[in-house]
């Protein structure tokens, strides 16, 4: 059995680890709340945009933007959103597993795949896997700016415009609640017009300045960008939630370990005292 001093050092080191994990848990909890607020704040923009695009595409059924035209898939693009840091449980692993599955199923059909990664974990993983990464962004921080994403999204949108890509998917974690995050694979392009707002009961149309088509082009680009942005913000909320849960488990485990070690330490101490006593008594009897 380890001696008293060794156990004491061990207890101390576990306690220090526990302090760190507990601090990280608290930091993650407060960051999660902020990320959730940001998630809620970006929602009205996309909602409003969806309703305007829905209206426009219904009012001008003869005009089909390239983003709305369904083509045969020869090459597909993926935008994969991950975290920058680890220590967040199985969040990234689950996402990458789902991503790989989607990638493989396309590749089996003889379809080439291009990747855009957001977050350093994704770029590391898919580089090792050997995916073709055409653009990437890392270290966006806790409050990402839409401006940081414009370039990335443009790479893919241009690819789609030129006919280099025929589908575009967005892969990110959906925030269900603090305990549950779901890997999500969403189709960005072509935009499903039927998923946009259906009812066109109103019999009026907008006045357009300058042209309806021009306005629609602008809106569609911004719409895709805002969806990607929402994905990023949602993924951050997921990251913080997952980290909070993981760090809580780590703190609890450390607590368990400490109490076990404490028990061993007490036993060792007791044994030492008993032994010493019996030695003294034995010595006295021998005299």
């Amino acid at each position: 059995m380890a001696s008293g001093k060794e156990i004491r050092t061990k207890i101390k080191s576990v306690k220090n680890t526990q302090k760190i994990t507990r601090a990280m848990e608290m930091v993650a909890a407060s960051k999660m709340r902020k990320a959730q607020d940001r998630m809620a704040a970006s929602r009205p923009y996309a909602d409003k945009m969806r309703s305007v695009i829905g209206h426009l595409s219904q009012a001008h059924p003869e005009y089909r933007h390239t983003f709305m035209v369904e083509r045969e898939a020869k090459r597909v693009g993926f935008i994969i959103i991950s975290t920058d840091r680890g220590l967040c449980g199985g969040l990234n692993t689950n996402l990458f597993k789902a991503g790989l599955q989607a990638l493989r199923s396309w590749q089996e059909q003889g379809v080439e795949v291009e990747l855009v990664t957001i977050g350093s974990k994704a770029s590391q993983f898919f580089k090792r896997f050997g995916g073709k990464i055409v653009a990437q962004a890392t270290h966006l921080g806790d409050a990402p700016k839409l401006a940081d994403l414009i370039g990335l999204v443009k790479v893919m949108l241009d690819g789609y415009d030129e006919g280099r890509l025929d589908r575009l998917f967005l892969q990110y974690n959906r925030f269900v609640n603090t305990m549950t995050q779901q890997p999500q694979n969403e189709q960005l392009l072509p935009i499903h017009t039927d998923s946009l707002e259906q009812e066109l009961q109103h019999h009026w149309d907008y006045i357009y300045e300058p042209e309806a088509t021009e306005v629609l082009d602008q809106l569609l680009m911004r719409y895709v960008e805002s969806l990607v942005y929402q994905g990023v913000v949602e993924n951050i909320a997921c990251e913080q939630a997952a980290r909070m849960v993981a760090m809580k488990a780590a703190s609890d485990n450390a607590g368990g370990l400490i109490s076990e070690l404490q028990l061993a330490y007490n036993k060792a101490r007791q044994a030492a005292i008993t032994q010493e006593l019996s030695e003294i008594v034995g010595g006295a009897a021998a005299v």
Binding site: Q136, K145, G151, D158, D205, I207, E209, Q230
Partner: protein, 140 residues
Amino acid sequence: MAMTMHVDIVSAEAAIFSGTVEMFFAPAVQGEIGVMPRHSPLITQLKPGSVRVVKQGGEEDTFYVSGGMLEIQPHVVTVLADTALRAKDVDEAAAIEAKQRAEQAMKDAQSDIDYARAQSELAEAIAQLQTIQQLRKKAR
């Protein structure tokens, strides 16, 4: 009492303004426009500039937008504001930069960076821990 309409100014990152106003001004691409309640439905692009609202009671508020879209319905006005300056070549430059980052990362050996990052993360966690401890001491 003057007639009013509802105005929402939203960007992809945040809701900037929401409230009831009497009059509304915005820099549309084809010239500045003023909007009063019961305007006919209109959609237009915005130039960078300031959006001005006259709230109920005559108080004015001004917001800067770096472009975006404006949707007008008789009693609801929505500004879909851009948060970043948008121009064709600026976007192009951002796209090129994103591509270059990917190429750069492909070349770099990642292991040293990972180690350095882990170290900095640890240092950060410790610093946060110390701050929390100090706060606790103060609270006592």
